[in-house]
Amino acid sequence: MKAAGQLALDAASARGVTYADARVVSIRNRSLTTKNGRVGHASESESLGIGVRVIAEGAWGFAASADLSRAAVEATAARAVGIARASARVKKEDVRLAPEPAAVAEWTTPYKVDPFTTSVEQNLDLLLKVDAEMRAVAGVTLAETGMNFQREESWFLSSEGARIHQTKYSTGAGCTAYAFAGSEIQKRSYPNSFGGQWQNRGYELIEEMKLVENARRVAEEAVALHQAEQCPEGRATIILDSSQLSLQIHESIGHPIELDRVLGMEANFAGTSFLTLEKLGNLRYASDLVNVVADARQEHGPGLGTFAYDDEGVAAQSTPIITNGRFTGYLSSRETAHAIGAARSGGTLRAEGWNRLPMIRMTNVSILPGERPLSLKELIAATDDGIYMQTNKSWSIDDKRYNFQFGCEIAWEIKHGKLARMLKNPSYSGITTEFWNSMDAICSRDEWMLWGTPNCGKGQPQQVVGTGHGASPARFRNIRVGSAYS
């Protein structure tokens, strides 16, 4: 793999580029699902190839090929250079990159059990047990489970001298029970929707999830929702569980802080951002209690956005995004960092695979837990009247990331500090900065969970990558609820 990368750099350099990098990537994946007591699908995949990115005549070019023969790699590099020269025909300024030391490094995701050493029988046995637990509940009309593993080995080489070899593992699993009756379909997922929980870890994550132990409970909740009252419409105090808050962070903080969006580079598809440059350091994004970081370092946790180096060779960093409520940082790349006069990239450029151009992606964008000890139970006890919502069901936000609406799978009324009756079809909506400024309590470290969002789409052609989001349950005041059914 490394030799193919060097070959590409040599071929590009010989054609007069001012910068080149090559990523040679090998991805292996296992995906298993069950449905109503049977295997839904069972598949494995392997993908190997090279992506070559160059700057020639001050413009970018990128070409990728699955063929790693000498002739094909050289041809791929030559195509990248030709594409860059075509790009140069419609440019205003030369591309410039913020400086970055050329790293030579080796890194592997820490794990206890390589998931690919576990047997398919073992994997399916667990999923079918989870499936059986859900189907044991009368009223469940569909039970689904899933498990995924991925191993991604990559070599990054640049014309500046970087030589980085990384191997990343990610693991995910979860289950969902559906109940159709009358004129309603209700569902409950564990431990989260989007296929469950996902982290950059080994099989030990699956063993810690307690899928079998929780499957029957969520199935019972799916059935019970049919008897629940509809979530009211109006203004309310809400408490969000950590998984829903993690998606709220993803959509209303993670995406608007992407500097490529801010600079208009995503205007045609993903959109732009309300966080225009003059707001950096000045905008009161949130209440004083809100501290958010974008942290790709292993010490933040094994999130889907954890790595040692990004896909243009920049070391993992922690960037303060919101500090005591004030907007303090963007997600950046070498090109966008230079564009706003920053000294260095924030190290967030990632690609879906060898055949895609790296772009700014969320790393682990997390809200830090409250410093004062506060459990979820204590937070509910301290709430006289409100709604506690769990587990995302629907999500939508405008293309500048102002107006959002989320639906959750389940909710409970809070009355006089206690959970009262169950509510179905809960939803809430608002404007990003108004919402975050209404947060008046967040639970402490014991309630904090680093969730994985495996399905974040961005770019043209679209790339789907995983992102991480740590969150504790938190309380928000005077939020519009129930408008999804208004």
């Binding site: 190839g49 075509a86 399916l124 939803s427 408008s483």
Partner: protein, 465 residues
């Protein structure tokens, strides 16, 4: 790029490496290039060549799949072994079907299905980076003329896909696709257009750019009006993206799983009298292969007729399960229709070549505007997600060109709205439709859809721009 002959050779090696009772290989090969522009410059410009083989093995009711993109013997052996290992450990599925031979897959004489010849065009395959740069330059010049900033893409794809199995099936399909998407941005407004076609000569970049620019200019200084129920005129891309959320439910498995909004509703009049929908892979404005994930010929299926949901589509296995199910008597005709996904999968099938058929007299968008006393003209919808699976309520935003219509004229741009709208309700409230066209959006697969004038469309909130 991978040819049918090369694929046949690879499949021959796969068969030699496999000890399974049956073997199937699905091939996809593509050469794809995309030039992306923003801030009136080309900022990303990519090209990719890749071929994939996906191998399925069967052992007496047990099946699994493994995929590789390297075709040397070791890689193929490893993929075959992975597929076989995944299959062998499963319990046999009593509903399992052997792979189809060509007679079953194609019907009649067993002749291989072919798409209309208009789906592969050398002119599209031959587009170069320089060609794309020249088109982008012309789009940027339109932006400059109107003092706007533009962003978008221009892409071209050449692809081949095929399916071979050990019962003699050997299908192959070649296609090209060119696509242009343009956003024009002003200080507080924007406009958008997108179109694709197998034949690049059907795309008119200058016209698309001018239309997007006009929308950006005319929606400048948008007014905010209160959310509520409005008559809306949805341009075809907006129709495409919102109605796309219901077609997962038009498959047999979704009924068997009881996760469809059509549960207990097939045969009932769910939509307005003027709603007629079919799935037709051979429609002249459609694209894609004429066979499904098992190699079965894609048949034309009338899904909705005069507002009545007539039936759903089926993969082979789903049709068999449905015939033996408690729902068999209330779902209309049950037969394999050639809409299955590659096996094994848990989703079954879906209509992917949807065509809305205009009933009665059509109206152009201009005529719809002229006949509207007060309403909202919508260019595009965005970030649509399902809120309620049975009432089929979806939420989302308007984007890139939302206008107030009063007294038969477009009056001004509007700040964008959030909607929460039931598709059942929406398709019961269609007052007028245009001639259906091939439309492309971002939330759904391409379809042939009309613009629609819809009464009482439910906007629940407005945003800040």
């Amino acid at each position: 790029m991978l040819t049918k002959e090369q694929a046949a050779d690879i499949f021959g090696r796969i068969r030699r490496f496999s000890s399974a009772e049956e073997v199937e290989a699905i091939f996809t090969g593509s050469r794809f290039a995309l030039t992306r522009f923003a801030n009136n410059t080309i900022h990303q410009n990519v090209e990719e060549e890749n071929s994939i083989v996906s191998i399925r093995t069967n052992f007496g009711g047990r099946t699994a799949r493994a995929t590789a993109n390297q075709f040397d013997d070791n890689s193929l052996r490893r993929a075959v072994t992975a597929s076989e290992n995944l299959a062998r450990v499963q319990a046999p599925d009593p509903d399992f079907l052997p792979m189809p031979d060509s007679r079953e897959a194609h019907g009649g004489t067993g002749e291989t299905p072919v798409a209309p010849s208009s789906r592969f065009f050398e002119q599209t395959a031959a587009i170069t980076p320089s060609d794309r740069a020249e088109v982008v330059k012309s789009i940027v010049s339109v932006a400059g003329k109107h003092k706007l900033t533009t962003a978008g893409i221009y892409s071209n794809l050449e692809s081949g896909e095929g399916i071979f199995n050990s019962r003699g099936l050997a299908n192959w399909h070649r296609q090209t696709l060119a696509e242009i998407s343009i956003t024009m941005l002003a200080g507080d407004s924007s406009g958008w257009q997108k179109l694709n076609s197998p034949d690049v000569r059907n795309l008119d970049p200058a016209r698309l750019a001018e239309t997007a620019a006009r929308k950006a200019v005319e929606s400048a200084h948008p007014r905010e009006i209160a959310p509520g129920k409005y008559t809306v005129i949805l341009e075809p891309a907006a129709v495409l993206d919102i109605v796309g959320f219901m077609f997962w439910d038009f498959g047999g498995v979704s009924i068997l799983d009881q996760r469809s909004f059509l549960n207990d509703r097939i045969g009932t009049k769910l939509f307005g009298e003027n709603i007629n929908i079919c799935d037709d892979a051979q429609h002249p404005l459609q694209s894609g292969s004429p066979f499904d994930g098992e190699g079965m010929r894609r048949r034309r299926v009338q899904l909705v007729e005069s507002g009545v949901v007539k039936r759903v589509v089926y993969a082979r296995g789903t049709a068999r399960k449905m015939k033996n199910s408690e729902y068999a008597a209330k779902v209309g005709p049950i037969e394999p229709t050639g809409h299955g996904f590659p096996l094994p999968n848990e989703m079954g099938e879906m209509p992917m070549n949807v065509v809305f058929e205009a009933a009665g007299k059509t109206q152009s968008v201009e005529q719809m505007i002229a006949s509207t006393e007060r309403g909202v003209l919508v260019t595009r919808l965005w970030y649509i997600r399902e809120v309620d699976p049975y009432e089929k309520i979806v939420t989302g935003m308007t984007r890139d060109g939302t206008f107030l219509v009063e007294n038969g004229k477009v009056q001004c741009g509007l700040r964008n709205f959030r909607f929460n709208e039931s598709l059942i309700s929406m398709l019961s409230n269609v007052d007028a439709m245009s001639v259906p066209v091939r439309a492309a959006g971002e939330e759904s697969f391409d379809m042939v859809v009309p613009a629609m004038k819809v009464r009482e469309f439910n906007f629940t909130e407005a945003t800040k721009f």
